[in-house]
Amino acid sequence: MNMDRNKDRKKIVGVFFVIAVVIGVFFLFPDLLPAVDDAKAPVHTYLSDYYIENSLEDTGAHNMVTAVLADYRGFDTLFETCVMFLAGVTALMVLSTTAKVTKPERSRKERLQISFGSTVLDIAFRIIVPVIVIYAFYVLVHGELSLGGGFQAGALLAIAYMIDRIIPSFNSSLGNLKEETAAVIAGVGVFIYILTGLLPMAGSGNFLEYGKLPFGADTAEQIRQLHGTGILLIEIGVVVCVMATIINILEVVLERTEFDD
């Protein structure tokens, strides 16, 4: 009891110490950071202006964030996708060395009980699945024009799979991917991205230089369209990778947990 109170007191002292240090630093050095909203700050006057003024011209993407993410800094995004793949493989490797939980066989009645609780909810969720899939494709294709992109679309597709997987039924519509197959698919997704990057090299371009994809483009307008094609191709790779990785992690976890509800 006494020890607990001591611990609490220590935590409170720590919290106040942190707050005091931060406030102290800001009062000591008031010019440490530019003011929020200050349009004259160096952050907003150098690269930012270039991206805003030229991204539509250079890449044909209406969404500047997509232009920066997938085109100007596409190389970062390649490795961001790799991080997803790597996380999936690591989770699989870490957990696959331990024994799986042996689940008792459930009867049909029992299996129907572990779901969202009622038949109405189960059916309702199943109706949502196709809508989510369609929406995911919309988000994927539309990412270049407005908000959206590969990661979101991949997550949506994975959610559709998850709902389908968790709701028990005998004729599961999307099938049952094994976690190792999912990791293989995620690797193929990253490889689509790499291939998109390697293709311009055949047309005397650099790695990931979409404007020189070897599809024959001469005018500025055609080159802009090629950028759009490149962004779409890598987004497809990202979708495949993200979706498969989330499914991979989900399956790894499902193999080793027991729902005792």
Partner: protein, 126 residues
């Protein structure tokens, strides 16, 4: 006096909040004995850095960096670069959290507990 504090908070308040959040995250990671709480504090710390970058990207009278019909000029949009960077950082932190949770499941399977004092046999410092 109140005016000064008001402008100070308006200009710097958000940075102060993010740094306090970060400090609390690190403090929580150091001080809490439960591994799940440590992961949560880690996420708080990562989110605070994401906030910091997004606060840097804000601009007066700026709107979303999406060209709707015509390009309105450089002053009309907020800075797209921090947003793109932070999308990467979010995915990275997602991956880190995923691996952390997988490790935590494994630790739970081996030791039967996720409390630091159960695993190392040491009590929290008095």
């Amino acid at each position: 006096m109140i005016d000064i504090i008001e402008t100070f908070l308006a200009e710097k308040g958000i940075y102060m909040m993010t740094f306090i959040l970060m400090g609390l995250g690190i403090f929580g990671m150091v001080s809490s004995g439960n591994y799940m709480k440590k992961i949560m504090c880690m996420n708080i710390m990562q989110v605070s850095i994401i906030f910091f970058f997004l606060a840097l990207g804000q601009k007066e009278h700026g709107t979303l960096p999406v060209v709707v019909e015509n390009l309105l000029g450089a002053d009309a949009y907020i800075n797209p670069l921090p947003h793109a960077l932070m999308l990467t950082a979010i995915v990275v932190s997602l991956g880190t959290t995923g691996v952390a949770l997988a490790l935590l499941m494994k630790i739970k399977e081996i030791y039967g507990s996720i409390e630091e004092e159960d695993i190392t046999g040491k009590r929290w410092k008095k």
